[in-house]
């Protein structure tokens, strides 16, 4: 008992000697750790919420990104469950196209094609949207994987997938 009491006294004594939260003292390393912990905890619900929201969106619509070359599917990725942005390199023939995807959509990150229209199309986030590369005869599109979820649209008039139409030559 005595030892314990002494120990308690010692602790009290130490705290009195080195008060942690007294104003006017330097911002020490442990304070920085504490602030960072608070910041992480504060952002946690936001980041988790954003992830769950994106995941719920793709689960609800059951979206997948599909890449076709000359009408034939060469790559497919279920967007549901993608925890973070993921990069894919898809090779076909002597060409290569880089695709990025997350739970809420997909986009062409890079392509060696001359006009770069597929890259400039940007992120596709709705079923039915597509990015088209005429020179490589490639289409990246978002498709529904849940049959009970109807497509938002069946077709888009005035766009063949973000492509700014090339005249019939």
């Amino acid at each position: 008992m005595e030892a314990m009491d002494l120990s308690g006294d010692k602790k009290t004594s130490d705290l009195q000697k080195k008060p942690r939260y007294s104003p006017g003292l330097a911002f020490c390393r442990s304070d920085l750790v504490l602030v960072l912990c608070i910041a992480v905890l504060a952002l946690f619900p936001y980041t988790v919420g954003k992830y769950l929201q994106a995941r719920a969106t793709s689960e609800q619509s059951g979206m997948a990104a599909v890449l076709t070359v000359d009408g034939k599917e060469v790559w497919r990725e279920e967007l549901t469950g993608l925890a973070s942005e993921t990069t894919y390199s898809v090779e076909f023939g002597t060409e290569e196209i880089v695709i990025c995807a997350d739970a809420s959509g997909a986009w062409v990150e890079a392509s060696d094609c001359p006009d770069q229209i597929c890259v400039h199309t940007g992120k596709l986030s709705k079923v039915g949207q597509a990015a088209v590369c005429i020179p490589f005869r490639v289409v990246l599109k978002i498709v529904a994987t849940n049959p009970s979820q109807p497509d938002e649209v069946d077709a888009v008039s005035g766009s063949c997938g973000g492509l700014y139409e090339i005249l019939f030559g």
Binding site: T68, D70, G71, D115, H120, T121, G122, K123, L124, S125, K126, G128, Q129, V132, I134, R137, V139, P147, S148, P150, D151, E152, V153, D154, A155, V156, S157, G158, S159, C160, G161, G162, L163, Y164, E165, I166, L167, F168, G169
Partner: protein, 325 residues
């Protein structure tokens, strides 16, 4: 394949590249596969027949020789040219298939764009006159009134192709079809759930959003706009839709024009013509005809549509829709 609505139907679809764009054909019904494949074959045949860059095509042969002597073409190409000239007349020349020399001058026939000097435009615009196309129905002969003229069916080829494909597909046992030729859309029948097809109108101000959505069946929906193809030089934007009267890019107060009607070729021609006309003249043209639907995108937030589309056309959030009578 099990379609929505619980009805067991055979669905067949294919995606392919032709006419320098991506195409998609889908059909539902016992003979959907045969119908779609027959439609594809027709597209490839038309591509070979009407292409302006393939020297073996009939149109290339017309352009190469008709200024010197008459060129005989197939009956199909001849009838297509005949109908195209009627559309040129009907639109007062705002749609003109003889615009090809001007398109070449600006580089829109390929991809090396340039801004021609005013003198070059003045020297070329004289070749643009659809009435200089001489059609002899006795032998399907085509000639031009002078050397230097040429025709480009780019503004109607896909619309015409969708009409041809649909006619062929109707010869098979199918219940519905969706034909999308590079954004020129044609829908036939209703979906298995009994609803019409949902066809979005591209947003001219953003490549992956929509100006609005139509719910339709048995119609073509064709859109033209300056956003589709353009180049920029010294901070100025030059769009690919040319004014046949000036030889300059159309100075339109519209961002896009969508035409909804039963004939794809006419919809295709009118979408270009009404864009060139501009808002007031386009509305007047619609009032004088009233046998097609018309959607005019005025700005990022303003959309006008002909009254006949009320109930089947809605705009997306953030845009306003007004109907005209």
């Amino acid at each position: 394949m099990d379609r929505d609505g619980g009805t067991k139907e055979k669905t067949y679809s294919t995606e392919f590249f032709a006419m320098n764009t991506v195409m998609y054909i889908e059909a539902v019904g016992p003979e959907s596969e045969e119908a779609v494949l027959a439609g594809c074959d027709k597209i490839y045949a038309l591509d070979a027949m009407l292409s302006r860059t393939d020297p073996k095509s009939e149109i290339s042969q017309v352009n190469a020789g008709a200024g010197v002597s008459e060129v005989t073409v197939s009956e199909e190409t001849f009838r297509l040219l005949e109908n195209a000239v009627l559309l040129c007349e009907d639109t007062g020349g705002t749609f003109d298939i003889s615009i090809a020399p001007i398109m070449d001058l600006w580089g829109f026939s390929g991809s090396e764009y340039r801004v021609p000097a005013a003198e070059e435009i003045a020297a070329t615009i004289g070749f643009v006159d659809y009435s200089g196309l001489i059609l002899d129905s006795s032998n399907f002969g085509v000639s031009f009134s002078g050397d230097g003229m040429s025709v480009d069916l780019g503004a109607i080829a896909k619309g015409y192709a969708s009409d041809c494909v649909l006619e062929i597909m109707k010869g098979f046992d199918i219940e519905s079809a969706l034909i999308n030729l590079g954004g020129n859309v044609c829908v036939y029948g209703k979906k298995s759930n009994g609803e019409g097809f949902r066809v979005a109108i591209a947003d001219p101000t953003h490549p992956t959003t929509y100006a609005g959505i139509l719910e339709v069946s048995d119609l073509s929906i064709i859109t033209s706009g300056g956003y589709e193809r353009y180049f920029e030089k010294d901070g100025k934007k030059y769009i690919h839709i040319m004014d046949p009267y000036t030889g300059m890019p159309a100075d339109s107060d519209l961002l896009s024009v969508s035409i909804v009607g039963p004939n794809g070729m006419r919809c295709d021609a009118l979408s270009t013509a009404l864009f060139v006309m501009g808002k007031e003249a386009a509305i007047e043209y619609w009032r004088a005809h009233r046998d097609f639907g018309c959607i005019l995108v005025i700005s990022e937030t303003e959309v006008l549509a002909s009254r006949d589309l009320e109930g089947v056309f809605t705009v997306t959030d953030g845009k306003t829709l007004d109907f005209f009578d």
